[in-house]
């Protein structure tokens, strides 16, 4: 117990006296939660060029529809498709609506000429979202209507940044968990403090366990900072109880902490540890459901994502914060998190002692 207390105390003192750690702790909520969600998931207002070859009231009506639509910026009227294409090359317009000659006459005869919609496919996401909206706008017809009633769950008002918040909280916790403990252990190896500690005969399980326990509390502190930032800036609330949230975060952060330890153990020096942490972190963030949902992944990436502890953390946080479902829905993730923690824990001990 006494050893536990002094190891814990050592970690607390080392942490508070290393200002960078405090800065890192504060930067995460401010940059990742306070700032980044502002960029995510708002609806696009697209810009288009209209090439009117018909010069009729029907073609003017198309322009009017664009002007009055909440999805469109005022269109640019071009004399020719070439002129409009030139604008597209300069990224000034996303789409070109080309109204052919005889369009209005065709409508009167009941056999309208086809309007051509040219979309900038190189701006894939925007084109994907904007084209159907433009088509709906031009045809006065919600393409989903008629036979399907559409219900938008969990995001009825398109406040999209709130729904990325959970992903970003998960990303913040990952950064804190891996960087802090990884840099700490890499530093101990560098200054040879670890050799001295091994010589004292202290059980490495106790030593490492206490260290990880301390940093797990730091992660919980970070969680609260992120939640506070989310609440202040975006009125984010938690659907389940705070106790459930803390428990889920606590359990699912342990694999990440032990992963940080594992990396620091594997690396031969602190620079290697930093390099490994950077690349691994990017892999874990990208191959989880932080940036893109699981449904967007194909092939082996999908299965990697399912095995990725960051994905478990993200999905579990989503269930607790956004959906408010009971914990039994993430029982598998919790068990997997505990198992992975145990594996990394014992591997790290062996590596830190590095008997060869």
């Amino acid at each position: 117990m006494k050893r536990f207390y002094y190891i814990f105390k050592h970690e607390v003192l080392a942490f508070v006296r290393f200002p960078l750690m405090i800065i890192l702790l504060l930067l995460c909520p401010i940059v990742v939660i306070g700032f980044i969600p502002q960029t995510l998931g708002h609806s696009i207002k697209f810009n288009c060029a209209i090439v009117d070859m018909d010069h009729s009231s029907a073609s003017m009506e198309i322009g009017q529809k664009n002007l009055s639509s909440e999805h469109c910026l005022p269109p640019v009227w071009c004399k020719s498709v070439e002129e409009a294409m030139h604008l597209m090359e300069y990224n000034s317009v996303l789409m070109i609506v080309s109204i052919p000659e005889g369009y209005e006459r065709g409508i009167a005869l009941g056999n309208p000429e086809k309007i051509t919609l040219l979309a900038d496919g190189s701006r894939v996401i925007e084109a994907d979202i904007a084209v159907p909206k433009m088509m709906s706008l031009l045809s006065d017809n919600d393409a989903s209507g008629g036979i399907i009633n559409l219900h938008r769950l969990f995001n009825s008002e398109e406040h999209s940044e709130q729904y990325y918040l959970v992903s970003l909280i998960s990303m913040s916790l990952l950064i804190i968990a891996m960087f802090l403990i990884g840099l700490n252990i890499a530093g101990e190896k560098k200054h040879n403090t670890l050799s001295q500690i091994i010589v004292t005969g202290v059980d490495m399980r106790l030593y490492l366990g206490t260290k990880v326990l301390f940093y797990s509390l730091v992660v919980i502190l970070e969680l609260f900072l992120c939640l506070a930032m989310g609440y202040i800036v975006y009125d984010m609330t938690i659907a389940s109880g705070i106790g459930q949230l803390v428990m889920v975060t606590y359990i699912l952060t342990f694999p990440l902490l032990f992963l940080g330890v594992f990396i620091a153990s594997v690396a031969r020096n602190d620079i290697q540890a930093i390099y490994l942490m950077i690349f691994l972190m990017i892999f874990l963030v990208m191959l989880s459901s932080i940036i893109a949902p699981l449904a967007n992944m194909s092939g082996i990436s999908y299965y990697f994502c399912r095995m990725n502890p960051v994905n478990w953390l993200t999905e579990s946080l989503r269930i607790v914060i956004t959906y408010g479902y009971p914990l039994r829905t993430i029982l598998l993730e919790l068990i997997a998190g505990i198992l992975l923690s145990v594996i990394f824990f014992f591997s790290s001990i062996r590596l830190l002692k590095r008997i060869n």
């Binding site: 006494k2 050893r3 207390y5 002094y6 190891i7 105390k9 050592h10 003192l13 080392a14 006296r17 290393f18 200054h191 040879n192 403090t193 050799s195 001295q196 500690i197 091994i198 010589v199 004292t200 005969g201 202290v202 030593y207 002692k353 590095r354 008997i355 060869n356």
Partner: protein
């Protein structure tokens, strides 16, 4: 029982590189053995094997039953962000010392090495000489019977080196067996026995005065011969 450490034919290979070759030595209570050699002679590897940080390739060593080992590394192995007092407390707890014993030992070293004014100073801000004495105190905190010091005087001035060796001799007088690795040949005369290592093997072993006589009156001749 006087015999503290027995090393028999200890060898360590890293691939094709032989770091320590067929090393044998005994250490009794109160002995001070100096291990000398050029950089890369195998001194640190030898010490790391005895501590248990590196596994030998072959050979063996035995440490007397109930023996406690103290260690001081080249880089002092102190926790930089903790103060002097906090380092004592931290390592005292890791050694699992009973409270009274810890307080007695700690106060003894603080007084002896005149560390009173540095107690609340972070160790990363201490001058090298003070760090060295602190590291030495910590290695002795748990009253070890075997002390392994890896180049403890590296980078220190003459006065601080003398101070440390006086502390080493005092420890030896208390019955602690001590193995010290060092570059400085003038420190050989603080030792009861010296071992000269060359490419992992023992080049010379014995009393420093006798060895010096054999080498034409100066140990440096032995060292230079080794270098050649």
């Amino acid at each position: 029982m006087n015999r503290i450490l027995t090393i028999s034919s200890l060898t360590k290979r890293f691939g094709s590189l032989v770091a320590v070759q067929d090393f044998s030595l005994t250490l009794d209570k109160g002995d001070v053995v100096g291990v000398f050699g050029a950089n890369g002679a195998g001194k640190t590897t030898l010490i790391r094997m005895i501590i248990g940080l590196t596994k030998p390739t072959s050979g063996e060593f035995t440490i007397a039953t109930g023996c406690r080992i103290g260690y001081m590394s080249q880089s002092f192995s102190l926790v930089g962000t903790l103060t002097v007092m906090e380092n004592f407390e931290f390592y005292g707890a890791l050694y699992n010392l009973p409270q009274q014993e810890f307080i007695d030992q700690r106060d003894r070293f603080i007084t002896h090495f005149k560390m009173e004014e540095y107690l609340n100073v972070r160790t990363d801000r201490l001058p090298a000489g003070r760090k060295q004495l602190l590291a030495f105190s910590i290695s002795r905190l748990h009253s070890p019977t075997l002390l392994l010091l890896d180049e403890p005087t590296s980078g220190l001035d003459l006065l601080n080196r003398k101070r440390l060796w006086e502390a080493v001799r005092e420890a030896a007088e208390e019955g602690i067996a001590i193995m010290v690795s060092t570059h400085y040949l003038d420190e050989a005369y603080y030792c009861d026995k010296i071992v000269m290592m060359e490419r992992g093997a023992i080049k010379a072993y014995g009393d420093p005065v006798n060895l010096a006589n054999k080498a034409g009156g100066n140990l440096i001749n032995l060292f230079l011969e080794e270098m050649r």
